[in-house]
Structure formats: C-alpha cells, structure tokens
C-alpha cells in the first residue's frame, strides 16, 4: 500500500420516505403484495403521463441542505434508456444535466483526524421494479417474475467527490451520511430493506500522482462493514494487478461476502443511455424563499449539536460524539437533561446501560419503552439515596423492558435502600460474628478485609443497604473492638 494511494468515490442511493411515488399517487409502502401498489403511470402504460410529487422535491432539497449543498433554483429531469424488465418504460427518469443539489460536503473523523469529503451532487430519480428469477440470472432463468411496487419509488443519489482514500474513510463517510440524513427524517435508511444502497468506485495511483486511473465499480454491498472490507480487498487486488505488470480493467465487480472477495461481473463498456430531456416534465423552478423555508425545517444537525453538548453541557467530546450519532438518542439525552438531571450523569447512563441493553437486544431506540421522564425520575431516586446505583441498574433494566415507572418497580420489588441504622447495625453484628477471621485480619492491619465485610453486608441485604452508611457503621463497630 505504501507506494500507492486509493481514490474512492461512493454513490449512495437513498429511498425517500414520501407517502406516494415520485410521479404518481401510488403508495410507497414496503412489503405489500406484489404488483398492488401500481397504476398506469408507474407501470408505464401507453398514454400515461407523469406528475412530479412535490414532497419528493422538498425531501431532496432538505437532504441537500443537510449535506451542505447548494439547491438548484432550476433543475431538469432526463431520460436514461436501457432495456431491462424491471424498468416498465425501458427508461429511467433521472437528473443528468442539472441536479437538484450541487457541491456539498461532510466532515468525517478517522483516527482522531478530521477530514472533509466533498459531495459532487445529489439528484432525484425513480426506482425500478424488483425481479425474482427461477434460476441464477435473468439470461439463464427458466422464468422471471417482476414486482412493480417499487417502480417509481423516489430515490436520491448522493455522489461523493473522489476524496475518499481508504475503506475506513468510506465507512466513516457512510456513517456520517446516514447519521446526518437520519436527522432530516427523509428516509428510513435501512440497508437491509434497500432504502439505503451504496456502490463504490475504486482506483489506485502512485502516491503523489494527481491522475485518475481506471476504476472499478463494486456492487452488492449490503452493510457499511461490507463497503469497508470490499474496498480494502479491491485496493489490494488492484495493487497486485499493477505490480504484476497487469492493467486494471474498467469492470463492474460484485462483493462476495462469504469469500471476502470482489468478483468481476462484466467489463463496463460504458452503456449509451441516450440521455434526453424528459418532455413530460417542464423544468423545475424553485425560489430562494422556498429554499429558505425548507432550510428552516431542518433540525439542529449532528455537528452543531455535538459542539453544543460539549460547550454548554460540558460533555467530553467522546460522549457528545456517541450521543449525537443518532438523532433519537440525542433527543432522549436532551429531554432527560432538560428535566433537571446532570448532563454527565445522564450521558453515563445512556452510554452505559442504555446502549448496552440496546445492543444486547438488537433494538432500535424507537422500539424501547423507557421514557426520558422515567429515566430522570430514576436518576433522582439514586441521587437522593432512595436506591443505590447498583439497584438503579436493575430498575433500569426493568424499565427498559416494561416501560414502567421506576417508583412502582422499586415498591413492587421492595428495593428501597436500607438506611435505618439500627437495622444495619444488627446485620453488621451478624456478619462480624459469622466472619471472625476477617475481623481478626482487619484488626491485624489488613485493611482490605473491610471490603469483604462490606460485601457480606450488602449480600445479606440483597444489595439494598446504603453502602455509605454500611461503611461508616462497620468502621465504627470494628474500631470498638480495637
């Protein structure tokens, strides 16, 4: 790798979650019975004409603004022609000349270094239908079925500049892109459902060169991890080819996840799409005022939010980064803090218990029942000493699953902290009587026997004893013997 640098550009397709398709009124719902969300327009029936869905324009502009792009006040649609049964009109309506958004960027962090990845442009287009083959490929299949429910679902394609230099940067870029778009709420961003798709263009060149060499396009990347691995593999492969005196071919390659390699699909003799102005759609004109209205609907974006958490809440940069990595998480955090809780304490709980349980159960934040109100209540109870921190974690786990009020849980399970001195003294006497060896050790100067005895007291009270008080009373009791 040392003599070469990689030049990587990513093309990210994002399905917009508008209610209806881009050029007709059909539902965009995922998972309906095949060919039920269709009409003459999205089936491309003879005589059908198209109408642009205004929400698509709004969503696309919103995404563009979130990614720091300029919005084109006049943009156009074009036709890209190719024959394939998933395209009902044998053409795709896309933006080839003047896309809706131009020239944005995202700042990523890799190994503690910040780096700017430029975004070349974002364009709107329609999705194709879905083919199912009875066989491996369309040419070898006995038969193929086509579902046009997805035909005409709105997409934006976010095309990065060739600024990415490694698989790790690619992954960081995708994570940042997904995170930012999540804040705009324009897409479900689910890679497994195809609402987020990524193709990678990879080439290599000697370090210091400014030239662009032949690139390959990698498809079938089903996770960010796959993007990273595929790029890393592809860079190594290209270096090997070049070092052996060969030439990198302009191929489309597919990522084989199980083998961890990219495989050539076809040599890419650049297809002639015969781009033509879409005659059924007049150019799309928007005003600067409209753009500002869309901008006003943008929420605070992750970078700004992160800085605010650092500056105003005093969170460590790491905490702020993790918490703002998801809009929902950041909102949960902010609401809890707004209820009067200490920022760092809330952050600790969220980054600790909350994320641990989310990951362990493989859940999305939207799927859990715990509310910021209950978390704030729980933190107050811990702070007041009604329960210990340790018990707090137990209660939290229950709240996480059931969505119950922490007070109710504490009452039901009898988890209130024991702070009654008389009751505790009695337990301490019993523990000391049961563990004379440890008492002797302590008195003989082995101070760490104290910890063992405290543990025994906690055990005897099922963890409910007020640990501070136990410490104090035990100390007193031992000193009396000395």
């Amino acid at each position: 790798m040392s003599n070469y640098e990689a030049v990587i550009g990513l093309e990210v397709h994002v399905e917009l979650k508008t209610q209806t398709k881009i050029f007709c009124g059909c539902s965009t719902e995922f998972g309906s019975e095949p060919n039920t969300n269709v009409c003459p327009v999205c089936l491309g029936l003879p005589g059908s004409t198209i109408v642009l869905n205004k929400s698509v324009l709004e969503y696309a502009a919103k995404a563009g603004l979130a990614l720091n792009c300029d919005i084109s006040l006049l943009s156009k649609f074009n036709r890209k022609h190719y024959f394939y049964p998933d395209m009902p009109k044998a053409l795709q309506i896309s933006q080839l000349e003047i896309p809706i958004a131009i020239g944005g960027h995202l700042d990523i962090e890799v190994e503690g270094e910040s780096k700017r990845i430029n975004i070349h442009h974002i364009h709107m287009e329609e999705d194709a239908g879905k083919l199912t083959h009875q066989g491996d490929t369309i040419s070898s299949a006995l038969s193929s079925l086509v579902d046009y429910n997805r035909s005409g679902v709105p997409l934006i394609e976010i095309v990065s500049a060739p600024d990415i230099r490694s698989g790790e940067e690619a992954k960081a870029y995708l994570e940042k892109l997904k995170n930012t778009l999540e804040y705009t709420d324009v897409s479900d961003l689910r890679m497994e459902q195809g609402s987020l798709r990524c193709d990678a263009n990879v080439s290599i060149r000697p370090v210091g060169s400014k030239e662009f060499n032949t690139k390959t396009e990698i498809k079938n990347l089903n996770s960010f991890r796959a993007v990273q691995r595929a790029i890393e593999y592809e860079i190594e492969r290209q270096i090997e080819v070049v070092e052996e005196g060969g030439q990198v071919l302009p191929e489309t390659r597919t990522w084989d996840e199980s083998k961890g390699i990219t495989v050539a699909m076809r040599v890419k003799d650049e297809p002639d799409y015969r781009g033509m102005v879409e005659p059924d759609l007049p150019p799309i004109e928007v005003t600067p005022e409209w753009v500002e209205e869309i901008r006003a609907t943008l929420p605070e974006l992750p970078d700004v939010k992160k800085n605010r958490f650092i500056m105003e809440h005093g969170l460590p940069a790491y905490d702020a980064e993790v918490i703002t990595s998801s809009r929902k998480l950041a909102e949960f955090y902010e609401k809890t803090v707004a209820l009067g809780q200490d920022a760092k304490v809330v952050s600790n709980w969220i980054m600790g218990e909350f994320l641990r349980l989310l990951n362990a159960n493989n859940l999305e934040i939207t799927e859990v029942k715990i509310t910021p109100e209950y978390l704030a209540k729980l933190l107050s109870l811990v702070e007041k000493g009604t329960i210990s921190g340790k018990i707090g974690k137990k209660v939290f786990a229950e709240m996480f699953e059931e969505g119950k009020d922490p007070e109710v849980i504490i009452k039901e399970k009898g988890l209130v902290q024991i702070s009654d001195e008389g009751q505790l003294k009695q337990v301490i006497q019993e523990v000391m009587a049961d563990n004379p060896k440890s008492v002797e050790d302590y008195l003989g100067g082995q101070k760490k026997a104290m910890g063992f005895l405290v543990g025994q007291v906690m055990k005897a009270t099922k963890g409910q004893a007020n640990p501070g008080l136990v410490n104090k009373l035990l100390q007193e009791a031992l000193e009396e013997l000395a």
């Binding site: 003459p40 089936l43 491309g44 029936l45 003879p46 005589g47 059908s48 004409t49 198209i50 109408v51 642009l52 036709r79 022609h81 024959f83 049964p85 009902p88 009109k89 044998a90 053409l91 369309i138 040419s139 070898s140 193929s144 086509v146 002639d272 015969r274 781009g275 033509m276 102005v277 005659p279 059924d280 759609l281 007049p282």
Partner: protein
C-alpha cells in the same frame, strides 16, 4: 337530408327539440358505418353495443335535464391512439393489437361527460407515423372522394369518417400535421390546438413535445364546440396549460375587416401544385375583398423545419416506444430463447417498417457521438424557428398557406419513398415545432375533384383569431358544403 349529413350544431338543436332521439341517431350512424366501412376502412373497432347503451343512458339524462352540452347525444369516433377504457386501443399496430387500456384519456372522459356517444376507434398510421394511413397494421383507409387514393394521415380514419358521414365529428392527434393534412386531403375542418391547450393524458405518445389532440369536424362552428369540450388544464399532464380557455363559439364572427393576413412567400413557391397555389391566392382574394389586408412575409428558416422536426420527433419516438418490450402489455414473441431474444423478436415482429425506421433514426440521433451534431443542434434550431414565427406574428394577426404541397395521391404511390413523404410535411411541421395552433379548412377542389386545404396559423393560445378568420371564410364561400359522391 340524412342524419349523418348534419353538423353538430344542427343535430344538437334537433335533439334538444326532441325532433330526433339519440338512439335513432346512433342507430343511423351505426347503419351508415355498416354500409360504408367495409369499403372505406375508417374504423379499427366499432363499439355497437356500448354506443346503443350509451345513447339510451344519455337520452335519459337529457330528458331529466342533467345533460345540456351541445355535444350531448352526438355520435363520434376517436383515433385509435387515444385510450378508451375497456376498448382496444391499438395505435394501428400489431404491437398493441391486444391492448385494452384500463383507463380513459382525459379528453375521452370529457367527451363522455358531455354526453357524446362513441361509435368506435378510427384507423391511423401505425403509432401516428405516416401521412397516408397506409402503415396501419389493420387496414388501408380510402379517401371518400376517390377510393383509389389515400385519406392522408396519420389521422386518416378520423378525417375520412367525418367526410363520409361515418361520424359526426372525430378526434385525431397531430404531431407534424396528422390532423391538418388528412383534413385537407378529405375536405373537412381539422384543428391542431396550441401545445398545452389539451391534456395529452391518455394519448399514446409519439413525440411528447409535439403531440396534440384536436377535433375534425364538418364546419368551423363544430370545431369550436368540440374545442370547448376538450380544452383545459389537467393536473395529470404537467405540460397542459393552466390558463382558463375562452368560449370559442364567441369567436364565430363573420368579420375580417382590418385584419392583417400574412402570406409567407416560402408557402407558395413552385414546390406547391398549381391548383393549390391558385386556391390559396383565391382565399387571399376572399379575405381582401372582405376588408382584410394581405401582408407578404418571409420565414427564411423554412428550409430547416423538416430536418429539425424529424430529428426531434424521432428522438422522442425512439424513447417513447422503448417500453414495448413484450413484458407488460401488447404483443409478445413466442418461445424466446432468453430475455434478449424475447425483447428483440417482440419488437422486430410487433412493429412495422415505418415505425422501425423511425426508432432507428431516433436512436441514432440520440447516440453519443451524434447527439451534439443532431439532437442538440435540432433543439437549437427549434428555438430559432419558434422565434422566427413569433417575429412573423409581429407583422400580421394570422398566417395562411397550404397544408400540403399536393392533394390526395394514389394508394401505394409514395409509400416506398419515405424521404419524399417527409418533405411534404414542410408546411405542417413548423406549427408543431413552435407549439402554435393551426387549422385546415376546405378551400377548393383540384382538377381531379380532390379537396384542397387552406391552413391558418395563429399565435400561441390564439385559437380565437383562427376560428374567426376560418368562420368568415366559411360564411362567404361554399367549399365546406362540397361532399364526395359515395353512391349510398
């Protein structure tokens, strides 16, 4: 006089006065079709049962006072590239010989709502590509004036049916003259409205930026009545204009005094048959005698209009016709080897020669390496041609000229000379390139007793001036009353 000889306005008055019933009229028209159409070949499909049911329904609504449109009860035919729910819409092609649309075109909905009765779907050149209706997959339509001759095209069935009394009026579509030229060959009134005046929703696209639906009628008055019924914005077609259209019958005024009528010298050069030139000059005299002023103008870009038109039209056609791959609708090849074979054979077997020629030419001009030299240049030429016509209208209120350099020719005479046929579109295509409205009205007969058409070109969205001028001509001449002798 028999019922099929009446105009819309005459029949409408007979119907509202209950002097005739809609059923009786419909029955008569179906009988007329039965008698004539095996010879003339105007219709691809005749919807007898639906027509009678519709007639009965419309009569009831009329009796209850629910329907009061001038088109209520008027039997009509529609060109077979305009979608009709539940009725074959073939575009004159084998490719769509089994295509029954699940929806109605916007104009069809409007006509149904006005109570007009559909008799059937009219023959046409395949996908509207042609000017003689000879490229129809189904049949040849014959010119009612001389059955050895073509009716013009591509709306040949629409024009012949109106003139032969097989429909009281009809709808056609005009991409480069497809309404005006057959209207001229058959001797009826044909209007190509301003681009955007009428919704194209449901019109099977040939060249989307040029296509426009329009009426074919016996008189200018009828033309205004049909135009009133079908014009107007449609939210389903973004290229349809939002402006509120006027009542076109208000423009039926017999007066051209003081009007400036432009006659481009390029429109009456030697390429135009002498009979036609004489008829046009005679029309000029009619107008000047009535107090109009004739202004001689020049449109030097005329030599570029045919190539510009064909590049744009065929580029769009190659795109619009890409969808016919046998997967979703229409003809499909049997026993394909694989998907490529399936697609290739479906298109090879489903399209006729002229359509294939145009798809190939259109694909060529859009291909990389040729795109700039042809398609892009044609778009520039289009802008220039549009500008020149707009400039010409600074000197006059209306432009007149011939529709075609010839009258109706013999069936088979030109079909093997596509270039010649393309060149004869010279006077009609600039109208589509510039998005203007234009009308063809009868203005005489040639030495073979074949109709000659006078073309009137207006400013964008100024159909009124065309209607007014044409109406005045009609009121002061007898050409619109000439009918072919059909021996029935």
């Amino acid at each position: 006089m028999q019922l099929h000889e009446y105009t819309i306005s005459e029949l409408s008055s007979l119907i509202s006065k209950k002097e005739i019933s809609i059923l009786e009229l419909t029955q008569h028209m179906l009988g007329r079709i039965e008698k004539l159409d095996s010879e003339l070949g105007c219709y691809i499909s005749i919807v007898e049962d639906q027509a009678m049911e519709q007639a009965a329904k419309v009569q009831k609504m009329l009796d209850k006072g629910i329907l009061t449109s001038p088109l209520t009860g008027i039997p009509m035919g529609i060109k077979d590239n305009i979608c009709t729910e539940g009725i074959l819409t073939s575009c004159g092609s084998k490719m769509l010989s089994n295509f029954v649309p699940p929806y109605n075109a916007h104009v069809v909905k409007k006509l149904y709502n006005s109570g007009s009765v559909l008799l059937g779907k009219l023959n046409m050149d395949e996908y509207a590509m042609g000017s003689s209706t000879e490229s129809s997959y189904f049949k040849k339509t014959r010119n009612p004036w001389d059955t050895e001759r073509v009716p013009g095209g591509s709306s040949g069935g629409s024009a012949a049916a109106v003139v032969a009394g097989e429909a009281i009026y009809s709808l056609g579509s005009d991409t480069g003259g497809s309404i005006r030229q057959p209207a001229s060959f058959c001797g009826c009134v044909g209007l190509k409205p301003t681009y955007g005046l009428i919704s194209r929703f449901g019109l099977v696209s040939y060249a989307s930026s040029l296509d426009q639906i329009g009426p074919l009628t016996k008189t200018v008055t009828d033309c205004a009545l049909v135009l009133n019924a079908i014009a107007g914005h449609d939210p389903m077609d973004l290229t349809s204009s939002r402006r509120i259209h006027p009542d076109y019958t208000k423009a039926l005024i017999n007066d051209v005094k003081g009007m400036k009528i432009g006659l481009p010298r390029e429109f009456i050069d030697d390429s135009v048959e002498k009979n036609i030139r004489d008829a046009i000059l005679n029309a000029v005299k009619v107008f000047t005698d009535l107090g109009a002023e004739c202004v001689e103008i020049s449109i030097p870009v005329m030599e570029y209009v045919v190539p510009t038109y064909y590049i744009i039209a065929l580029a769009e056609a190659s795109s619009n016709l890409a969808r016919y791959d046998g997967v979703k609708f229409g003809y499909r090849a049997s026993n394909p080897k694989d998907i490529l074979d399936f697609c290739k054979r479906t298109r090879s077997e489903g399209f006729g020669t002229e359509v294939k020629r145009r798809i190939l030419l259109g694909t060529y001009v859009l291909s990389s390496g040729y795109y700039d030299a042809y398609y892009k240049k044609a778009l520039k030429a289009r802008a220039i041609i549009t500008r020149e016509f707009n400039k010409a209208f600074e000197q006059c209120d209306i432009i007149i000229g011939p529709v075609s350099p010839t009258t109706a020719y013999k069936i088979g005479e030109k079909i093997n000379d596509p270039i010649q046929m393309y060149m004869e579109d010279i006077f009609t295509v600039p109208v589509n390139i510039a998005g203007l409205p234009a009308m063809s009205i009868p203005c005489g007969l040639d030495n073979n007793s074949l109709p000659i058409g006078l073309q009137l070109l207006g400013k964008r969205f100024d159909e009124q001036t065309i209607i007014k001028t044409a109406y005045t001509f009609e009121q002061n001449t007898e050409f619109h009353n000439l009918r072919p002798n059909l021996n029935v």
